[in-house]
Symmetry: C2
Subunit: 290 residues, 2 copies
Amino acid sequence: MGQESTSSYRTLSSSEKGTNPMTKRHPIGVFDSGVGGLTVVRALRTALPGEDIVYLGDTARVPYGSKSPRTVEKYSLGCQQFLLDRGVKMVLIACNTASANALPALQEATRVPVIGAVEPGATSALAATKHGHIGVIGTLGTVRSNAYGRAIAARDPAAKLTQLACPLLVPLAEEGWTDDDIAMLVARRYLTQLFVQDPAIDTLVLGCTHYPLLANVLHRVANELAKHEVAVVDSAGAMAEMAKEALGSGANRRSTAGRLDCFATDTSRLDELAPRFLGEPLTGFELVDL
Amino acid sequence: MGQESTSSYRTLSSSEKGTNPMTKRHPIGVFDSGVGGLTVVRALRTALPGEDIVYLGDTARVPYGSKSPRTVEKYSLGCQQFLLDRGVKMVLIACNTASANALPALQEATRVPVIGAVEPGATSALAATKHGHIGVIGTLGTVRSNAYGRAIAARDPAAKLTQLACPLLVPLAEEGWTDDDIAMLVARRYLTQLFVQDPAIDTLVLGCTHYPLLANVLHRVANELAKHEVAVVDSAGAMAEMAKEALGSGANRRSTAGRLDCFATDTSRLDELAPRFLGEPLTGFELVDL
């Protein structure tokens, strides 16, 4: 038996880890630096409604986006271990910054499949673009890592990528100022910097779990600046599809809805923020100390 | 002898702690959740130029403003212990959120004087107000704590206080968007909420170390909304004066400039941000793990 768990699941023993660690009844683990990752949970519950999900938001140490790769990797490993201790059969890194900076270390640390946000986001962008001109907006940590640059170049070396860090967008989304004059001005200030670099961008990747809340404004401003239609894509749906595919026959296809257990390292503002991202009522978060 | 220190200072032994722990040659410790506290260092270096200063920015876990009191207290105790291990004769809590939520615990944990940001800010506000109508803007954690409310009521029960959390102001200051159309709109949105509650506010307290960078815009918008002159005050100068008074003959009055040793828990963006707050060039930060 693995380590004692507070949930009803057990962790995998070392012999199980050596073979196929997936069983239908184990939950899927999702972690994020905060509550934005609930947009991934939302997509997962649509794609795989029978699955149990354990969610961890590292809300005590949010945001990861302004921190160095070393710090992001350390915190991400702690988050993943928390999920593994709860017996998850798969880990989804909802946070783009953690995906961009810590995916190799996270995959190295476990035998269960670990899915980041960047690869699915890159795949979605390449499926959406007509002329191969892609813009990515995200946190400073995501942009500095150039993870989207590598993921897109590996799939289509001819694609042209332009990236920009947009630090104001996370607090705007959390404040709920998502469709007004301030949101428009901030979006215009950032996206102008992006389209000056490549006016032919036809696909915009929302490379941060908070940005889907600003999707309307970003789409409108992007179209206005580009003077052509710009597709707006994010990672959540693509991550859920990738999880479904990776699970294959290991997916729990029962007809009853799966459980959702949410944990957070700080509970401040969760009741206010979480439902905006999840899109359904929430039974609450359990406070944990990492 | 106390614990081994990496600096040239030594910590106080337990017998020294029982008596007067201050000696001239020990440094003053200042901590903050990030780099904003360097505005306090700046004021200290003006008021007490001969003093050595040890600064710690908990940049890996910034911001404290959105976290719960329990988390803020835990992190603050860790920061203070780091400074005490470096032999400081006094601790200044530059962060308003930490001052508002953790001052009693921090004072309880040591014999050296611990000075928070809230009491000096309250004193400055009462000195500046003509009619006793004071507005305080700060982080969610500072406002929720009502620390300014208690500090002002203790000094002048007749004063009327109105408080508002302004989460967008920290990222605006860090982005450097401090005097433009976006800063004006954000300031107007927040301050309108404040002056609707009390149109007679004549003194505005900048209850966060980041806000002095936005002082011009906040002052202009406050005057415009109030239709009378509004005094804008912050804690940095008052904290430095309080430190000078508390040190008394224990102050280092040598004519040569004191040393400034800066530590941070994450080094991302420090080179870009720190000089804006300190107002002088910086020799760099040493990375520490708390």
